[in-house]
């Protein structure tokens, strides 16, 4: 900003004016916005793209090859992300408070909310406008986002669930005609939203909308044509205290700049009824964008005419800006503590309230630092563009490059050169850690000031009109305006000249020479070139000084020094229009097959049930399960380990006319056998017991050593399936009755329970059944549903459903820690294993609305937790509990988190009336809480909760 502020600096050739020229957009750039942390720049253009730029730590200045020679890029801004989703021109972009999200709106009538921490992830597409969306603004508190569109409506959306909060149409019903942009703005205290182009009594206004009830009672009146841009000063002001006068308590107020199609600018204070200042005819054309400097005293305005004006205010004029703490205090007063989106990383200003928390946070930091992800302080900011030259200078390398470079021949005899890598890139790192890091500032003082000083905006357009004189005593706004006006016109002239040149170059300059045409035509020989020869980017500006013989209008050279890339893009677009579509900017790349909006929200993953070559799968009459046929001999492996085998040989010997069958058990050389009078149909075993079902409907149970445990159990019908696990035996009969016995305690856990409830009404069959270590019977059906029988409730419970949309749309990957990712082992995983991975895949592909996904994930995780509980699977319960806790913490479900903690902690003081169980599935609940608390501690927002339970746990430990 220095050359803008001081003429002296402007004249100083050593101070760079143009810092970087980015020429990657393929069409007119409509909007550029700095992220709140100043690290990123987002730009949106007519090429339907949003690009996110980041300052690259770089070797040094470089030029855009082939462009006008002298202009080196002092700073390197690299496009780190291209966001493709819009199907029309992107009109406005906006970073949410704390840079959590980036919103973009487009003439495709939609607003896209991007996850700024995980580009290019789309959080939500807001649909509802029926016209071109031309402006966006975030509520400074982060609770809402407002948009204004050509459909004569202003819509406010909630960030909680991305649904419409209110739709305001009344002030806009009279609006006719269109403006290029409708940039609305939210006041820094969050109380007022001011729209662009509204009408009141057929006069153009900027409508003031109160947050409280979305009332539309006030407006800013006075502009003669439609208001295009409204921009609140980021600062809140209070009345300047005059020396000597008694300090009167006065309300803080906000300051707002309004730009209009009538080429004039007005600046308002919310404490005054009249505008603070109105500057007429500031430009030759409509105002396009306005931004305030971060200190609140500078105002940059740009216009369609290609110029930018800078206005300098004094504190006498605007008042004393409140500092950040005072501003926060105001927010605190109005909105309480519930700043809707506060995440750990942004809470740098949040005071850590207790030493335990501090310690915990420090430990976390400490753990993170060795990963090298978070450098503290500039000295740790090693440039990411690491030189890989091993100490050799670039010059040395260049001298020997030809000799050194590796050249090979491909199979078809072509030369292949392996290029020498001279530097690595630092693109694409969008890790939150980097997001929080300090920007890397260059040595040049001029450029160090730029990034922090300009607030989160810049202009859409054109060359910078530099303020010609720096006069510190200039306090009158009118004078400032005059100055700016002058500079503005000056710049206009040059721009005008420039565009004339551009527009006429095609017609006036004599027909192209054959040679010249060769530069730009694509070679016909190149196979597979499909698009119209499209020339984007830069053909070099001729270097007047380099080649003496070049005939070149002098004006070009003069203006080029302060032209921005956008000028070029803009003029390109102009020319494009005139060239009758010969150079249609044709985007052939239709975007990555990324999250596709057209995907069904609930993608039906093909349910490929793993049909076991089971003896049970053949379809049968309802409630008649198949029974295995009798085989001469068979063997089974006892499931729990790989070394135990059961071998059955039917009718091995005849004794006194009766046929005996033999059951043979073997493990690592040890073996025993038992003889049974009837042919054996099914045999099953566990580490503790072996059970066999015989043709005569008897069930025999042996210990692992072959001792008969109980006399033969007589079954009413033949056996369909038999399982052993631990000392539990599960029998599923052909009449679809289930029994589970604990043969050690000799009790029945499940007594002849019918499968009727789960089988009736479907034509599904039992595809699989098993018994968990804890004696819970699990039955999977061919329709993908899995049930278990809960013996205490005496109910069948659905524990898995492969077609459940909840399962397929959940997304809790970011709640999984490294060891969690390996998955949990247990009966739940056994029934769901395939299912879960399918769900994860689906969630990656679908673009389920975030809030919906959030809800589904919550429901899913809770289901998992209760399923694990009912399956008595302790390890899985713990696994899901931790994921659930992480999810609650990440998504900010405080109530549920609180309930969870309360249940885990139980009553601190013993009372007989309490029905609280200190353990769950054999896990001590308070131990679980000890594991859950660090998860809670990760989010500073829950520090009270953390402290509360940490203290109580500590108290209990001391008891």
């Amino acid at each position: 900003m220095a050359p803008v502020l001081r003429e002296e600096d402007e004249r100083n050739e050593n101070i760079p004016k143009l810092l970087c020229q980015m020429d990657n957009h393929l069409a007119c750039v409509n909007c550029v916005r700095w992220s709140n942390n100043g690290l990123y720049l987002a730009s949106g253009g007519d090429d339907k793209l949003v690009m996110v730029w980041k300052r690259a730590a770089f070797i040094g200045p470089s030029t855009v090859f082939g462009s006008s020679s002298k202009l080196a890029n002092v700073e390197q801004w690299r496009c780190v992300m291209i966001l493709r989703n819009h199907t029309g021109d992107v009109m406005d972009v906006a970073w949410s408070p704390h840079d959590v999200w980036l919103a973009s709106c487009s003439v495709d009538n939609t607003i896209v909310i991007w996850n700024a921490r995980k580009f290019p992830e789309i959080v939500m597409t807001l649909k509802g406008h029926t016209g071109l969306v031309k402006g966006l603004t975030w509520d400074p508190v982060g609770k809402y986002i407002a948009s204004q569109a050509d459909d004569r409506s202003l819509k406010v959306w909630r960030t909680m669930d991305w649904q419409l909060e209110t739709n305001i149409t009344k002030p806009f019903s009279e609006c006719g005609g269109t403006t290029h942009v409708l940039r609305l703005s939210w006041s820094p205290d969050g109380q007022y939203l001011v729209s662009a182009h509204a009408m009141n009594n057929s006069g153009p206004t900027a409508q003031i909308i109160e947050r409280d009830g979305w009332k539309t009672n006030m407006d800013f009146v006075g502009h003669r044509k439609a208001v295009t841009v409204v921009k609140f000063n980021p600062k809140i002001f209070k009345k300047k205290q005059k020396n000597g006068s008694t300090p009167k308590p006065s309300c803080p107020y906000c300051c707002c700049a309004v730009g209009s199609k009538d080429r004039s600018l007005s600046v308002w204070l919310t404490s005054l009824k009249r505008p603070l200042v109105v500057i007429h005819d500031l430009f030759d054309k409509s105002i396009m964008d306005i931004t305030w400097t971060l200190n609140g005293l500078g105002l940059l305005v740009c216009s369609m005419d290609g110029t930018v004006a800078f206005l300098d205010f004094s504190q006498d004029e605007l008042g004393d800006p409140l500092n950040e703490e005072e501003k926060n205090a105001i927010h605190q007063n109005i909105y309480g503590k519930s700043l809707a989106i506060t995440m750990e990383s942004q809470l740098s200003s949040t005071i850590i309230e207790n030493p335990e928390m501090l310690k915990y946070q420090q430990e976390r930091q400490g753990n993170q630092n060795p990963d090298g992800a978070q450098g503290i302080g500039p000295e740790n900011q090693t440039p990411k563009l690491t030189n890989v030259l091993n100490g050799e200078s670039l010059e040395d390398i260049r001298k020997n490059l030809l000799k050194k470079q590796v050249e090979t021949r491909t199979a078809d005899g072509r030369r292949r050169i392996t290029p020498l890598c001279i530097a690595q890139l630092d693109t694409g790192d969008f890790s939150p850690a980097l997001f929080n890091s300090v920007p890397i500032l260059p040595g040049s003082s001029a450029s160090t000031q730029l990034t922090p000083q300009i607030s989160s905006d810049s202009s859409t357009a054109n060359s910078l009109g530099l303020r010609p004189s720096h006069d510190p005593t200039t306090t009158s706004p009118n004078k400032t305006a005059e100055d700016n006006k002058d500079s503005g016109t000056a710049a206009v002239n040059s721009i005008g000249m420039k565009s004339n040149l551009l527009l006429t170059s095609a017609s006036k300059i004599e027909p192209m020479k054959a040679l010249d045409s060769r530069f730009t035509e694509r070679s016909k020989a190149t196979p597979g070139v499909t698009s119209v020869p499209l020339t984007i980017g830069i053909t070099p500006l001729d270097r007047v000084k380099d080649s003496s013989s070049v005939k070149e209008p002098k004006g070009k050279d003069e203006t080029s020094s302060d032209s921005e890339d956008k000028t070029m893009v803009k003029s390109m677009a102009k020319r494009k229009g005139e060239m009758e579509g010969a150079e249609v900017v044709e985007k052939r790349k239709k975007g990555r097959p990324r999250k596709d909006a057209k995907m069904m929200p609930f993608p039906q993953t093909p349910v490929s049930l793993e049909k076991e070559p089971s003896r049970l799968t053949t379809p049968i009459a309802v409630l008649k399960l198949p029974t295995p046929s009798i085989q001469k001999s068979f063997s089974t492996q006892v499931s729990t380990d790989g070394v135990t085998y059961l071998e059955v040989e039917n009718e091995v010997s005849m004794v006194f006319g009766s046929r005996l069958s033999q059951l043979k058990w073997s493990r690592e050389g040890r073996e025993w056998d038992a003889l049974l009078p009837s042919r054996i149909i099914i045999a099953a075993g566990s580490s503790d017991v072996v059970a066999v079902a015989c043709e005569d409907r008897t069930l025999s149970v042996f210990t692992a050593c072959g001792r008969r445990l109980i006399p033969s159990i007589i079954l009413p019908v033949p056996m369909s399936a038999l399982h052993c696990s631990g000392h539990f035996v599960m029998a599923l009969t052909a009449s679809a009755m289930l029994s589970v016995w604990d043969v050690q305690k000799q009790t029945a856990l499940v007594k002849n329970e019918s499968l009727n409830p789960i089988l009736s009404g479907t034509d599904a069959t039992v595809s699989q059944s098993f018994l968990t270590q804890q004696g819970v019977a699990v039955v999977s059906l061919s329709n993908g549903k899995t049930y278990c029988f809960n013996s205490s409730l005496e109910t069948w419970n659905l524990i898995a459903d492969k077609q459940d949309s909840l399962v397929q749309c959940t997304d809790f990957r970011n709640c999984m820690s490294a060891q969690d990712a390996l998955g949990s082992m247990g009966p739940l995983a056994l029934t769901q294993g395939r299912n879960l991975s399918a769900g994860r895949l689906a969630s990656r592909l679908s673009s389920t609305p975030h809030h919906l996904q959030q809800g589904m994930t919550l429901a899913f995780l809770e289901k998992q937790l209760s399923s694990a509980l009912i399956l008595l699977s302790a390890s899985e319960y713990r696994h899901w509990l931790l994921i659930y806790a992480r999810f609650l913490v990440n998504e900010g479900y405080e109530l549920r988190l609180r309930e969870l903690c309360r249940d885990l902690l139980g009553p601190v003081h013993k009372s007989s009336s309490s029905s609280w169980e200190p353990t769950v599935l054999g896990l001590r609940k308070r131990d679980l809480l000890t594991e859950v608390l660090p998860v809670i501690g990760q989010n500073l927002r829950f520090q009270r909760l953390f402290t509360e339970y940490q203290d109580q746990l500590e108290l209990l430990r001391l008891k």
Partner: protein, 197 residues
Amino acid sequence: MAKVQVLNVAVLDNPSPFGNPFQFEVTFECMEDLPEDLEWKIIYVGSAESEEYDQTLDSVLVGPVPAGRHMFVFQADAPNTGLIPESDAVGVTVVLITCTYRGQEFIRIGYYVNNEYTDTELRENPPLKPDYGQLQRNILASNPRVTRFHINWEGCAEKMEDSENVDPAPNTMLPPSCTPGKAPPLGLVPDNSMDCL
């Protein structure tokens, strides 16, 4: 956006005798690892009149190209004099460096080349049959013409009938008959290039 940005091309061994090989030191930057090689070509325009006389001096594959900044020297033999129309041997012509990815050209860098006799007498009275041994090639290195094309970086170019890519209407061609010793008028911009002025 292009995945490969050419940062610089340095013309080595310039000016040099006509028969010397061309040497260009190319520095480029790649945004992400490229699964396929880049193909670079040097095309020498034998005559402005017609593409017939274009000679592809050489084409090389450059790879593998991981993300980062890379350099290589592209050397190619001098043009075959037998293919150059005698009338066009002396004077201004063009050398083109093109780069294609997956068969799609995304950048074309053009240099004006001035071929002239070093000997003053020859310069004044050029022989009818060009004496290539005496010719000096001077590439106007300070003035590259860069044209960038938008291509599909992700996949291969869809096959299209290239035969339809007919040359634009024959330009009124300006023979490169500029007086020796004088650089050609370069202040003009091809009309189908989008320039930054």
